[in-house]
């Protein structure tokens, strides 16, 4: 009997772990306009748009959040309300939810449904062939269907600038990179970042570590702890929620010692708020991946009847798909103008940043 009770207790713990694991970051970001206006707000005749998040959720302070911001902006510009006929999102709890969430939104007659993240490729592929009247768009992935638009970014270009900024700002000549899963998208970040560092300081070696996850802040914290302890002073993370751990490690060091020279370069969204610790801030800058711009852009095209179905749109530095965020004084003016020179070279096509590992 005792073994069984032990088993029961253990299973409850494990089950709770898997259930609760999904809601890792539950800080209330009351930015989403949803709370007040519930469903059934807008008219069905309006152009409506929705998105399915991956397991990160719309308050992941990075990728999904940025996409949701784009959808909200589109909603505001067209005076749509959250809910049916307006704009909405569904969060996935596991990869089994992608298809069903996409389908649920298509069934609620949204005109355009975004799938956020490369992991949703297969799901979009199969749902798009069933729901032919709905337009779909996938971010960071490519799906070849007449009613699917594929949206890609030249992350390497933004990461290149982050690398330039890091190389110009480092005092210890040690720079770190914390990645999520080792997948093509994240490798573009890494490759671009390394190229950028190399362009300024060819001999500087970047400490690269992949954590294997996008939603495990504790792994990010451990990686950052190791790097800072070994003298790294600037870490660029491309790890979604895992990167929040990089921030918390940097903030702990900053609050313990106000003069500590530790910086984080944020990713996807402007992560300035994430780096605030007392009156100081550990965010050097953020490499913006303007998913919001791209989402808004594709939604506008679709509304005008110019939906780029079956096409792949690539957003780079040239068309505001990627950029560096306002550093709010963390980077001095003269360094900024130097970074601008590099940016201009890329935008003009003088410098081609590779997107794949050699």
């Amino acid at each position: 009997m005792s073994k069984r009770r032990f088993g029961l207790a253990l299973s409850l713990v494990l089950a709770a772990g898997t259930v609760l694991g999904a809601c890792g970051s539950d800080k209330d970001n009351s930015k989403d306009s949803g709370k007040g206006s519930t469903s059934d707000g807008g008219k069905a005749s309006e152009f409506s748009v929705a998105m399915v998040t991956d397991v990160g959720g719309i308050d992941d302070k990075s990728f999904n959040q940025s996409a949701w911001k784009g959808i909200q902006e589109f909603g505001e510009e067209n005076s749509l309300k959250k809910g049916n006929g307006g704009f909405d999102y569904l969060q996935s709890q596991s990869d089994a939810d992608y298809t069903t969430n996409l389908n649920a939104l298509a069934r609620r007659d949204f005109n355009l449904v975004f799938g956020v993240g490369f992991l949703m490729e297969d799901a979009i592929d199969s749902i798009a062939s069933q729901q032919k009247d709905t337009e779909f768009a996938i971010i960071d992935g490519e799906v070849d269907q007449p009613n699917v638009a594929s949206i890609l970014f030249k992350e390497q270009e933004g990461a290149y600038l982050a690398g330039v900024a890091a190389a110009l700002m480092t005092k210890s000549d040690k720079i770190g990179f914390v990645g999520g899963m080792e997948i093509p998208v994240i490798e573009r970040f890494e490759v671009g970042f390394l190229e950028g560092v190399k362009a300024v300081k060819p001999d500087l070696k970047v400490d690269v570590q992949y954590t294997g996850a996008f939603d495990k802040a504790e792994l990010g914290k451990a990686a950052a702890n190791r790097m800072y302890s070994e003298g790294v002073d600037i870490i660029f993370h491309a790890a979604g929620g895992t990167g929040n751990g990089v921030f918390s490690e940097a903030k702990e060091r900053k609050s313990a010692d106000k003069d500590a020279y530790v910086w984080v370069i944020g990713v996807d969204s402007d992560q300035y708020d994430e780096g605030q610790v007392g009156d100081d801030n550990v965010t050097l800058t953020s490499m913006l991946k303007r998913v919001d711009n791209a989402v808004n852009d594709v939604a506008k095209l679709a509304k005008e009847g110019k939906f780029p179905g079956g096409e792949t749109k690539v957003y780079g530095l040239h068309d505001d798909g990627v950029a560096l965020a306002d550093s709010r004084g963390a980077i001095p003016e003269d360094v900024l103008s130097e970074i601008d020179k590099y940016a201009k070279d890329i935008a003009d096509g003088k410098v081609e940043v590779p997107g794949e590992k050699k």
């Binding site: 073994k3 069903t100 649920a104 297969d122 093509p184």
Partner: protein, 348 residues
């Protein structure tokens, strides 16, 4: 109160209690519990599509539950179902993708590969337990991580640096146009029949075969079983192998049915761990596992509809669902309470 009434009352009371406490949570956080539960209900039974998806979600839970329950009956605690499921998933996806065979060979072969992979993953802790007395809980937990990362590495090398394998051939698929048209294009597949067949197999093994009798005896009392002349070591290994095979088949459900391939994962699927709860809810009996898996699968799938239709944030939904499961799992407390109550009456 007779035993039978108590047996019916316990789950009913616990589900009602769970729903009530869940309702309080929703009320306190400012959401409408009636709308919430209506959305949950519709998410599970609302239309043929929902029913199809619910059944699809139940299939791997049945197999994961069987795997845990089977080991339990032999006195073993298999926490490695998660890992066994992942290797099974990979094996089925690989065999389904890499070979070109007629359907009547290909599909069974893919299922067998999944079962075999799971069985091997169960064999290792089984052997260690039988020969060196290494506790299976520790070994199986560690085997989960080994499975996760080995499979990720294999995916990467087979797909030449990619993060997923190609889709399986049509001939290995459990999907059918018939089922998906019947349920309005849900991802329902024939896996549920495989799962139910395995329920039968487990019952047959345990209650109708000498092997099952021996396994159960070892579970009841190892020493007595040995004294009676049974080979305890062999039975421990056997139990883990069969348990692993069930779990591997659970992975095949995902590979050949739901997803049609395997992608690199950042973390566990959770199905294997939920399988522990499924087995315990079902009192480790084959039929009970069907009940436990149905509860888990339908709550898990139906819960997705709560943010969709009732605008309740997913975090609250997770709490509500966890509460319902919590109360069902604590049925033991309610049973004890009911028994005390009836004993008092008898005493008077």
């Amino acid at each position: 109160m007779s035993n039978r009434i108590i047996n019916v009352l316990v789950p009913v009371i616990s589900i009602i209690l769970g729903l009530l406490v869940g309702a309080v949570v929703m009320l306190v956080s400012g959401y409408d519990p009636i709308a919430g539960y209506a959305a949950l209900w519709n998410g599970i039974f609302g239309d043929t599509y929902a029913i199809g998806e619910t059944i699809r979600q139940i299939s791997p839970y049945i197999l994961a539950g069987l795997a845990v329950a089977f080991a339990f009956r032999t006195g073993l605690f298999n926490i490695g179902v998660e890992g066994q499921l992942i290797v099974g998933w990979f094996a089925a996806a690989y065999v389904g993708m890499a070979f070109e065979l007629p359907k009547f060979i290909h599909l069974p072969l893919a299922l067998l590969a999944a079962a075999a992979a799971g069985a091997i993953w169960g064999l290792i802790p089984g052997l260690l337990k039988a020969t060196l007395k290494v506790h299976e809980v520790i070994v199986t937990i560690m085997m989960n991580y080994i499975a996760l990362h080995i499979v990720n590495a294999l995916i990467k090398s087979i797909s030449h640096g990619g993060f997923k394998l190609d889709k399986i051939q049509e001939t290995a698929s459990l999907r059918s146009d018939f089922l998906s048209e019947l349920t309005d294009f849900s991802t329902l597949h024939y896996g549920i029949f495989v799962a139910l067949f395995m329920v039968f197999i487990m019952w047959f093994l345990l209650d109708r075969m000498k092997l099952g009798y021996e396994l159960k005896s070892v579970g009841f009392n190892e020493n007595a079983a040995e004294y009676a002349g049974m080979n305890v070591k062999k039975n421990i290994v056997m139990a883990m192998v069969i348990s692993g095979a069930f779990a591997g088949l659970g992975g095949a459900m995902e590979a050949l049915g739901t997803f049609g391939n395997i992608s690199a994962r950042a973390g566990f699927t959770g199905i294997g761990f939920d399988g522990i709860a499924v087995a315990l809810l079902g009192a480790n009996t084959p039929l009970g596992v069907i009940f436990g898996a149905s509860l888990f699968g339908s709550l898990k799938y139906g819960a997705n509809n709560m943010p969709n239709a009732a605008d309740i944030p997913i975090e609250i939904v997770s709490i509500v669902i966890a509460l319902i499961i919590f109360f069902v799992a604590s049925g033991y407390i309610i049973r004890v309470g009911l028994l005390r109550l009836s004993k008092k009456k008898e005493a008077k």
